[in-house]
């Protein structure tokens, strides 16, 4: 029989570019803060689920091992989850499997990224996500695929760049209240539109920054959670799905694979009307339009997110607060860590620990990440 799973602690490092710390040191810091938060020691951990993006960023293979000492792996089960940009939330989904299955009671999740290792930039490494025979010879950079999708999305719902730029304004503004954020700022729509065009219609300020950082969460079975804390945040729904490797087979205007992952999580958590029943949304926002694109799928209504944005409903004090953390655009995008940061934000928001970012009346939240070449959907639903 499936068991209930709770988040009982969280910790994270600063998200910064070019941190003069090793991956192990970043992981150690996040794990130590997480253990302090829940009052456990590593001796209490039965299994570790770790997540980090491609080995190519570190130039070091089987880099899951980098976390093995900082999480004191001796005598514990360890697995590394990798689903591209979806990894961070994928780690939480896999952690849920560990406990819901009845195999473990206390599972540590850790996700990290050091994107500043490759010199001069991580950008060329992303070329290897494209098909080697038909696409790599064209010399694609990562942003192409987003640009093709963004234009299709703008066309599908007849929305302009002015509206989409509001996502950057909102998220960077929200990040001003996040103590670990890299790019919190007060900016205007005009700042976004006037920033350099990189791959039209994507401008520089439409993109989240590359970053270094780590996040750790502690999961426990229901019975254990009540012993550890008075304020568990329940991980009541998880969903994960992939679409075909071939992005050319999809309508880029709607991420159906995210919709299906959300529906799995909602079914498990008893959510039938996400717009009414969910108080906090943390959709994956590596690019401005992606927040809207993903929120459409989380709501199951193509084109609804831009309308809510235009009405100001996605603000922290609006009816449907979205990325109150500041998201990847504001807090930063150390890939796997950024996804798990979104789950940590639900933990902080729903347990009333979000400080100046606190959303009033937050009881149910959804976090989502997406990745690979436009085909990974990873979703978790939390409640108190």
């Amino acid at each position: 029989m499936r068991r209930r799973v709770a988040i009982v602690g969280a910790g994270m490092t600063y998200f910064r570019s070019m941190q003069p710390l090793t991956p192990q040191e970043l992981i150690f810091e996040a794990v130590r803060k997480c253990m302090d938060d829940c009052g456990l020691t590593l001796r209490d951990v039965e299994a570790v689920v770790a997540g980090s993006a491609p080995d190519a960023f570190d130039g070091y293979h089987h880099k899951g091992l980098l976390s093995s000492e900082a999480v004191d792996c001796l005598g514990r089960a360890f697995s590394r989850i990798y689903v591209g940009g979806g990894t961070g939330v994928g780690v939480a989904v896999a952690g849920w499997w560990h406990i819901a299955s009845g195999v473990y009671d206390r599972v540590l999740l850790v996700a990290w990224e050091k994107m500043s290792h490759p010199y001069p930039h991580a950008q060329p490494l992303f070329r290897t996500i494209f098909d080697p025979v038909l696409e790599q010879p064209l010399g694609p950079n990562l942003i192409w695929i987003f640009a093709l999708e963004m234009r299709r999305y703008m066309e599908m719902h007849r929305i302009g760049k002015e509206l989409i730029a509001e996502v950057a304004v909102k998220n960077k503004g929200n990040a001003l209240d996040h103590p670990y954020a890299q790019l919190g700022a007060k900016i205007t729509v005009e700042d976004v539109l006037k920033s350099p065009v990189l791959v039209w219609p994507v401008n520089r300020l439409d993109i989240s920054p590359t970053s270094d950082g780590a996040v750790a969460l502690m999961l426990a079975s229901g019975e254990e959670a009540r012993k550890i804390t008075d304020t568990p945040v329940w991980l009541d729904g998880v969903g994960a799905c992939l679409d075909s490797q071939f992005w050319t087979n999809r309508d880029l205007g709607y991420p159906y694979y995210v919709y299906l992952a959300a529906q799995q999580a909602y079914r498990m958590a008893g959510i039938t009307n996400p717009l009414k029943q969910i108080d906090v949304f943390e959709p994956y926002d590596p690019f401005t339009y992606k927040e809207l694109h993903h929120l459409d799928a989380l709501l199951g209504k193509p084109g609804l997110a831009p309308k809510l944005l235009a009405e100001g409903q996605l603000e922290r004090d609006g009816d449907h607060p979205t990325s109150p953390s500041g998201g990847l655009l504001g807090v930063g995008n150390p890939i796997a860590a950024a996804g798990l940061m979104k789950v940590a934000e639900l933990y902080w928001q729903l347990s009333g620990r979000a400080g100046r970012r606190q959303v009033p009346n937050a009881y149910v939240g959804v976090a989502q990440a997406w990745g690979d070449l436009m085909q990974v959907g990873q979703v978790v639903v939390c409640r108190v």
Binding site: G59, P120, H121, Q123, P124, R127, P132, V133, L134, E135, P137, L138, G139, P140, N141, I143, W144, A147, L148, E149, R151, R152, E155, P196, V197, L198, V199, W200, P201, V202, S244, F246, T248, N249, L252
Partner: protein
């Protein structure tokens, strides 16, 4: 530290036929014998039916622009001459091709396009110079 390694990828059954087609100045699609779905680039199996595919056929080459972008940066992220890239689909065929657009043509949604081939061809996606407006 740098990793020095070259990679060789086999094109496999279906893409070898596709690349041979490009060498001859043709676009080749696959067709599943069970569900009759055509696909470009061609596939050696049908993911819907889990059926092996042996039917490869030439398509007209007349396609339309599904979406497009204009890149102002190079592979390493540095500034570069703008290049327009189009994602081209073909009527009645699933999938599509990513390629350059003829710089003398303005991109627009649903623009009808056709491939322009280089004179000398070696069996590569780069045997197509770019797609241009089809009259």
């Amino acid at each position: 530290m740098s990793i020095e390694s070259f990679y060789e990828y086999p094109a496999g059954i279906a893409l070898s036929i596709f690349l041979q087609g490009l060498r001859e100045g043709k676009l080749i699609a696959s067709r599943c014998g069970k569900c009759n779905t055509s696909h470009i680039p061609p596939r050696s199996y049908c993911a819907k039916c889990l059926n092996p595919i042996n039917d490869f056929h030439e398509i007209t080459g007349l396609g339309f622009v599904e979406t497009f972008t204009c890149s102002h940066i190079s592979l390493d992220g540095s500034q570069a001459q703008p290049v327009t890239w189009v994602y081209v689909r073909f009527e009645g065929v699933e999938g599509g091709l990513l390629h350059r657009l003829d710089p003398s043509v303005a991109p627009e949604k649903a623009l009808k396009v056709r491939p322009v081939y280089h004179g000398e061809r070696i069996g590569s996606i780069l045997d197509i110079k770019w797609f241009t407006k089809a009259e």
